[in-house]
Point group: C2
Chain length 378, copies 2
């Protein structure tokens, strides 16, 4: 017997209610019974997205929803600006380039947030830019970007603002409408506390104009089809029925809690995690703009970062994430997103202390847990 | 309380073992634990596809896998032949046209199978055809096409043969390698007894050559990425973890039964269904090439076909399918695919008899059930 704990930035743990909901005997999707669920889910998504726009559900990972954004907004030879401050910012560039979009890249040092005024400068310098692709929380570095400030800049230009909120939606604040986010994409396996397999995308009227003129090839991700179907409370293709039934459950849980409380809980957990690792003597990778959904921590000198993550997982059952791409072995990441509560943080910090201690790292045992407890007692 | 029975051609009912498997607490996908599952699943898929080629798993509906075939094989202005004998044949045409493929359509009367020699004629007449898009079982009409005969024709041409086996794979015979099927696509919610949300695609070496030269824009469905990841027992994007864990379970069930037994069971159920409805005095919609996974039946004169389906579902809990597109109200369809056994057919025929009787249709009550029993007693 080994009890398992999951503190990774996607998938995140599933509430038992969600597990139970998705395990129900399947129903057909073209029935009044499923239509009623689709209606509820549609309202719930608008609440979480903080938007009056339709939110479309795709049977895909989050990346599918990202591609839907690019393919529906832009045509070959159009110009786009992508903000790259990590692996997921790079993904925007890669997708745009796959579609032969003329892609301007705004590179940001990994571990830093983008300075909104840099986006303003690029938009002024090149009025041809039709879309700005950004990331709410860059999971690979633990950074949160200031989407509100970026929205204020982009709204006064002809460009649309596209936000990858796969990591963060339903966990930290993102006011789609109030912050002028034209397109927001997300996925199921993060703040929404579901298994992976659903992508989401919302579009403003400004974005719809681009959808109607895009000439990029698309079928499965064609949002015109999605809209036509949604207007009849239907989906263009067989939807991921069980995941949508589970989504209805998790949306109810979020609504019951209230977004404000959800955001506050995430903030507390992030604060506690940051204070704990600092007390242990570790250094945050993104100290200037740390996100409240995942904390990236530098691997200390003389410690094998990959072994640290592996030991926590394979010996003690506590799964956190290592670094990705160029950060492999250099950082590790503790996620505090979705169905996570304060004692999950406590057990994770305790396990981190145990393994660091065993690996010969010098610190006062228990000091991290104590620092986290202090935050939670405030 | 109303007990529910599902006899639709997708989704099909879920075995309780599959429901339980997918409801397990989630695990992270980049772990040895999940890699072991991916390896098993990969072997199981090869068994069901009857192929030595890799089978790739996509987080999408079956249509996503169809689009993956088109986008990876062909570029704008390439020529393709699509075989259209129903709604799903038409889908090939629609996807090809979305990608600006020069699409030749071979129209087949709905309710009939394509004559393989017609494909031969078209290939001879136009040597530019790079791919032939066909359908194993055309769910909208209940027809099964002779893929074996088509394979023999296409293999000697430069064209690749693409088979939509979404409906049928794992339920009726499809020998991917022995029948020279270059590309086979499928989905989870049919013969594989899973919820919708997974697409599958296998490719022959002949097909891979086209993949490497295709210039169609693609990212999420880019099979070069899928192959690169699969070679490391990984997936390019977050996979639909729970569905893949459930897939492992359903593949084990199929393997335990053995494909030959599975096919025999489907044949028996189809025979029984056909004999039953004929005994009731109803007419098959596709008498010359009826598939063993779904039986399409003409709505008799003076009976409201949509009301028939609705009453069976809403009053008695037995869900079958109506007609789609131009067949709406003209046919109804009983699926006998996946996790279905003989007594499911008996109860469905009994419910059909009950509702037809109540609607004033003249026949000898019980005669359909008796005819089915006779088939099962053989």
């Amino acid at each position: 017997m080994k009890k398992k704990y999951l503190l990774t930035p996607g998938p995140t743990p599933l509430p038992p209610e969600v597990c139970a909901a998705q395990a129900q005997p399947i129903i057909h999707h073209r029935t009044p019974q499923f239509q009623a669920i689709l209606k509820e889910v549609s309202q719930g998504l608008k609440y979480v997205f903080q938007t009056e726009n339709d939110v479309f559900i795709l049977a895909s990972s989050g990346t599918g929803a990202m591609e839907a954004a690019v393919a529906n907004l832009l045509s070959a030879a159009d110009t786009a600006l992508t903000v790259e401050g990590g692996k997921f910012g790079q993904r925007w560039t890669e997708i745009c380039q796959s579609y032969n979009i003329n892609t301007e890249v705004l590179s940001v040092e990994w571990g830093r947030a983008v300075e909104p005024k840099k986006i303003e400068e690029r938009l002024k310098a090149n009025p041809k830019i039709k879309a700005v692709f950004t990331t709410l929380c860059e999971t690979s570095t633990g950074v949160v970007n200031d989407i509100e400030a970026i929205g204020k800049i982009v709204k006064d230009t002809p460009a649309v603002l596209v936000v990858d909120a796969i990591s963060g939606l339903g966990a930290i604040d993102l006011k789609t409408d109030a912050w002028f986010c034209d397109v927001v994409v997300s996925g199921s396996q993060k703040g929404l506390m579901l298994p992976p397999g659903l992508g989401f995308i919302s579009l403003s009227p400004k974005a719809w104009k681009l959808v109607e003129s895009s000439r990029s090839p698309r079928y499965y991700f064609d949002l015109r089809k999605a809209k036509k179907a949604q207007d009849k409370t239907d989906t263009p293709f067989t939807p991921a029925i069980n995941l949508i039934i589970a989504l209805n459950e998790s949306l109810k849980m979020i609504k019951e809690d209230g977004l404000a409380n959800v955001f506050l809980r995430h903030k507390k957990m992030a604060d506690a995690t940051r204070e704990a690792v600092k007390a242990i003597g570790l250094e945050l990778f993104a100290p200037t703009a740390p996100s409240d959904v995942v904390t990236a921590i530098k691997v200390p000198k003389d410690i094998d970062g990959e072994k640290l993550v592996k030991t926590m997982r394979d010996t003690y059952g506590v799964t956190i994430a290592g670094g990705q791409a160029e950060l492999k072995g250099k950082i590790f990441r503790i996620a505090h997103m979705g169905y996570i509560e304060e004692f999950d943080i406590i057990l994770c910090i305790s396990c981190l202390e145990k393994v660091l201690f065993q690996m010969g790292y010098k610190f006062q045992l228990g000091i991290g847990v104590r620092a986290a407890e202090e935050v939670f007692l405030r």
